[in-house]
Symmetry: C2
Subunit: 209 residues, 2 copies
């Protein structure tokens, strides 16, 4: 009986592969389905190998979560561009309610992980980091946006607007990604932009460009 052949990979590559395999498993089978064996199979590797790159399965999952959130925010932020603030904000919103950010697979992974945040401190920390980053980004853009329009809003007001807008985006993102509604027939981007403009007291036409 001969052993299966294999080839070595740089540490970073193997880690990435394992994380990607973990995310795939979670997306398709849920967190419970992301067993060591399942992940190893998808990564084309043997279960024992995981322990060489991650102390625990817990660490692997946490690493996968961190990667996932970071990528998610990066995808959303990539829609910003570098024009005036209201254009950046519009870009962020558009990116948030369309693929690949708003997407069934993305939601599945997010949901699976979110479910652990309350009972797992490690996951809670990983979550807090990523969430804070997104909220800060929105708050900054909202602030610039209002200042750009001559509105002199207090920091408190800006914060409240950011909180509400963040909530709206979260909710829209979930609804759209879930796909239950007949969103396919609607222009989700326009709905999202108009709602945002209304909330911030800005002329909607400015967002539609």
């Amino acid at each position: 009986m001969t052993r299966r052949t294999f080839h070595r990979e740089p540490e970073a590559v193997r880690q990435n592969d394992l994380i990607a395999a973990t995310l795939d498993s979670v997306a398709e089978l849920g967190l419970a389905g992301a067993t060591v064996r399942e992940v190893a199979n998808r990564a084309g590797v043997t279960p024992g190998l995981i322990r060489r790159y991650f102390d625990n399965k817990e660490r692997l999952v946490a690493a996968a979560y961190r990667t996932f959130i970071a990528d998610l925010i990066e995808m959303a932020a990539a829609g910003c561009g570098d024009g005036p603030a209201h254009t950046q904000l519009a870009g962020l919103i558009r990116a948030s309610v369309t693929a690949p950010v708003a997407d069934g697979r993305t939601l599945s992974i997010w949901a699976a992980f979110i479910g652990t945040v309350n009972s797992d401190p490690v996951m809670a920390e990983a979550h807090r980091e990523g969430y804070q980053a997104f909220r800060d980004l929105i708050e900054q853009l909202v602030g610039e946006c209002l200042r750009e329009r001559g509105t002199d809003a207090s920091q408190q007001t800006i914060r409240q607007h950011a909180i509400v807008l963040n909530a709206l985006l979260d909710g829209l993102w979930i609804e759209i990604s879930m796909g239950g509604d007949d969103f396919s027939r609607m222009d989700v981007v326009r709905i999202a932009l108009d709602s945002t403009a209304t909330l911030l007291g800005i002329d909607p036409a400015e967002f539609r460009e």
Copy 2:
């Protein structure tokens, strides 16, 4: 060695106890922690008994989810009262962003279950039912509310408003329940009501009553 004493319970009571124990387990330990033994312990019962009331563990969990969602919607709807539509809507919103609807434990359970919806058809169905009910309630209230104000909005417009409002409530509910922000210092009810009024194009003063 003598057996532990026990006493019989009506079927409905035992089922309720088991469901309650399941929800407690999920809230504190996550879905993975809601094992047959854990649930049985919390219900003051032996693991084997579960099988007498639920065919599978899967059925038990699905039943727990259905109960949870139904209760959640009932709690939210209980805030409506029976006045004019805009008062009912305000009540629904207030209830949605305050305890016991907006609450860490509630969010934990919701999140844990949501994570299974994508990979488990049974859970997906249970989810769809409850979600639809809430969305219909909002759509109806929004419709009445706009009609009450003399606005003659098309069904399409009402639908879009309902979708956006639903998203906003979902997002606010999540943020508040998560508790990460310093919401304690803010008047979340006022924020929610004002945002809603702004979105629907209604005078905010009318909501504050």
